[in-house]
């Protein structure tokens, strides 16, 4: 089902949803945009071609979260209740929505599923907004995703200028669009044109076919030292990444809680063992782990690529390391060096 929503009626629609759902939408926060609760005074931030600076994975997997409460009288830890909340996340970009489905493969599948993740996912609708003009640092078309991909979305909006074309993608979101006028075939064709134009406006940044095998083959080559030469070893690329899920469990004694914090393979202490041995002593091994996890191991775990090409790690790396260039250099190194001798 496809609907039409004039832009000037958007706020009213979000307000209508607010009666039943907690609505979150990207809004201005200093120089960047952030998912904040929608209120009548909200000034939405939808024109920016790029997504929010802080990844929306935090709406399901908060950076710091108490998961266990210490009962002093019993001397034991008890779980903190994970309460589902009816939410609508409006204006999430396709690359971020797909990233949430990738995190489902970690927290919502197999054994030991995560109650906190599931509680936040169960009643939350994702209403996506496609990118008519992907930015210079976006590369979703290179990672089996795209400016109008629908993975993980309950509905997808296409910006037609004066109005949005809304494509309903899941039953549970049907109620949100009741009463909207359905889209004419002309409007549907226009949307299709906008979508294909956006797709073509973003050439492939690297060749994905065979990339996994190439990376596996160059695992112990010197190329990783060259790629990570100027890396500072900070946590920006992983904390801002919508698919990174590594976490740390830490006791906050005076708060009587055991807390789960985001962690990153780029830090030295991440793999430092009690014996002081560190299997990843320098930035070379850590950069290799970051790339291999997304472009090789994730494939073996879940048959999917662990990156959706959102471009945050490219935009905010303080020393300008560009994962697209790193992947191109790694596969070029593989074809030259390994086949040369």
């Amino acid at each position: 089902m496809k609907y039409i929503l004039p832009k000037h009626e958007l706020n009213a629609l979000l307000e209508r949803w607010s009666a039943e759902y907690a609505v979150l939408a990207p809004q201005k926060a200093g120089a960047y945009s952030e998912f904040l609760p929608f209120t009548a005074q909200s000034e939405l931030c939808l024109e920016e071609p790029h997504n929010t600076r802080y990844p929306p994975k935090a709406l399901f997997f908060p950076q710091s979260e108490a998961i266990l409460k210490y009962k002093r009288n019993l001397g034991q830890l008890e779980s903190i209740e994970a309460v589902p909340q009816k939410r609508v996340i409006f204006g999430i970009r396709p690359c971020d929505a797909k990233a949430v489905t990738l995190l489902d493969t970690v927290f919502a599948e197999g054994d030991n599923q995560d109650p906190f993740w599931l509680a936040r996912r169960a009643e939350t609708l994702l209403i996506g907004l496609g990118c008519n003009e992907p930015g210079a640092t976006c590369f979703c078309t290179s990672t089996e995703s795209g400016p109008f991909h629908t993975d993980g979305l309950d509905a997808l909006l296409t910006d037609l200028g004066g109005e949005y074309l809304i494509e309903l993608l899941s039953e549970r979101a049907a109620g949100l669009f009741s009463g909207l006028e359905s889209a004419s075939s002309a409007q549907q064709e226009n949307a299709q044109a906008v979508q294909t134009a956006a797709e073509q406006a973003l050439p492939k940044a690297f060749e994905l076919d065979g990339l996994k095998d190439k990376l596996d083959r160059v695992f112990d080559q010197d190329v990783w030292a060259q790629l990570s030469e100027s890396c500072l070893g900070c946590g920006i690329c992983t904390f801002l990444c919508p698919t990174c899920f590594c976490f740390d469990l830490v006791d906050e004694a005076q708060r009587d809680t055991r807390v789960r914090n985001w962690d990153t393979c780029m830090f030295r202490v991440y793999s430092l063992e009690a014996s002081a041995h560190n299997p990843r002593p320098t930035r070379k091994e850590r950069t290799r782990q970051r790339l291999m996890h997304k472009y090789s191991y994730w494939w073996e775990h879940a048959g999917k690529l662990g990156c959706t090409g959102c471009g945050r790690c490219v935009r905010y790396c303080p020393v300008g390391l560009d994962i697209r260039a790193m992947l191109r250099k790694a596969s070029a190194y593989e074809s030259e060096a390994l086949h040369a001798n």
């Binding site: 071609p49 950076q63 500072l232």
Partner: protein, 322 residues
């Protein structure tokens, strides 16, 4: 800036070909828009990738502590970088005779945030020149006056010239007005106590503990940072108010008398958090109390390491501390 690039390349080529240094630390062409990358040149052929312009935002002295002390390093140093190198030599992180400093009088580092705010994030290429930064975005080309794009630390820079370089490329520039940094600190001090706390909290509590400020700072080279201690755990490692406050207070305080106010921490921060208003205050206090400015030479110990018995006069007997 291409004229400066050419000078740097010839000097770097001379150093490498004559075997005076093992590596030249400079910048090379960017892969990501607006981000030339720090690079380590060890052979002359690669020098064609060497670039130098206002977008070279990292403090190269940060890489000094990565090399063993016997490595002979050639390094591009602007005013703040030279002072950071001096401060590192004072702290015995490298021996001065193993360093060959290529001095560049600095016309200011451009803050990528100010560029993006004007041109949007969709940038293809840029060209830096004496007075304008030309940025080609997808739909439009911008010719931006360079002065309006400079990072806040550079607008208050007192020593743009390299003070103890082995060679200086280009003419020395006039010194900055030291009152600028002081006024900035004094205007913050003039706020009420609750306003100051509110501002500190508003900035610190946006921190995502990625430690880019720590990793970008040349003076932060500790093997194990205080945030990683767990016996005992002094600070919370999450993004709770307690954790972020402690991180920003102690990180800044560890730079007392060591920070050369280059602003690399703020340029690295992904969340646009203000930090130099903390280190500038500490720098001002070190000047007022001990007439010490970090990195002015590579001998004088910073104040916390050079206490003497004539501090006696500050020890009030029975009463408040002066």
């Amino acid at each position: 800036m291409t004229e400066m690039e050419a000078k740097i390349r010839t000097e770097a080529a001379r150093l490498l070909s004559e075997g005076l240094v093992d590596v030249v630390v400079a910048f090379r062409k960017e892969d990501a828009p607006l981000r030339p990358q720090p690079a380590f040149f060890t052979n002359v052929e690669d020098l064609e990738n060497l670039v130098y312009n206002g977008l070279c935002a990292n403090n190269l002295a940060n890489y000094l502590t990565r090399f063993p002390q016997e490595t002979r390093i050639g390094m591009l140093v602007r005013g703040c970088e030279n002072r950071s190198v001096n401060a590192l030599v004072v702290e015995k992180q490298h021996s001065r005779q193993n360093l060959y400093l290529i001095g560049i009088p600095c016309t200011g580092i451009i803050d990528w945030r100010k560029v993006v705010a004007l041109t949007g994030e969709d940038i293809l290429t840029y060209e830096d020149s004496a007075h304008t930064l030309t940025v080609r975005a997808r739909h439009q080309t911008f010719a931006l006056p360079r002065q309006e794009l400079l990072h806040s630390s550079c607008l208050r820079c007192v020593h743009p010239n390299p003070l103890s370089a082995d060679i200086v490329l280009g003419e020395m520039l006039p010194e900055g007005d030291p009152a600028l940094i002081r006024e900035r600190v004094e205007s913050f001090e003039a706020l009420t106590r609750s306003e100051r706390t509110a501002y500190f909290k508003q900035e610190a509590e946006r921190c995502i503990r990625c430690y880019a400020c720590r990793e970008a700072c040349p003076m932060c080279y500790c093997e194990e940072c205080f945030v990683d201690h767990n016996a005992p755990r002094w600070t919370e490692s999450g993004t709770t108010p307690a954790g972020t406050h402690a991180w920003h207070i102690i990180r800044a305080f560890h730079q007392t008398g060591r920070c050369t106010s280059c602003g690399a921490c703020e340029r690295a921060c992904p969340m646009d958090i203000q930090m130099t208003y903390l280190t500038d205050k500490l720098g001002k206090d070190m000047w007022d109390s001990y007439q010490f400015a970090a990195g002015m030479d590579d001998q004088t110990q910073p104040p916390f390491a050079s206490f003497t018995l004539d501090d006696k006069k500050h020890f009030q007997v029975g009463g408040k501390q002066s």
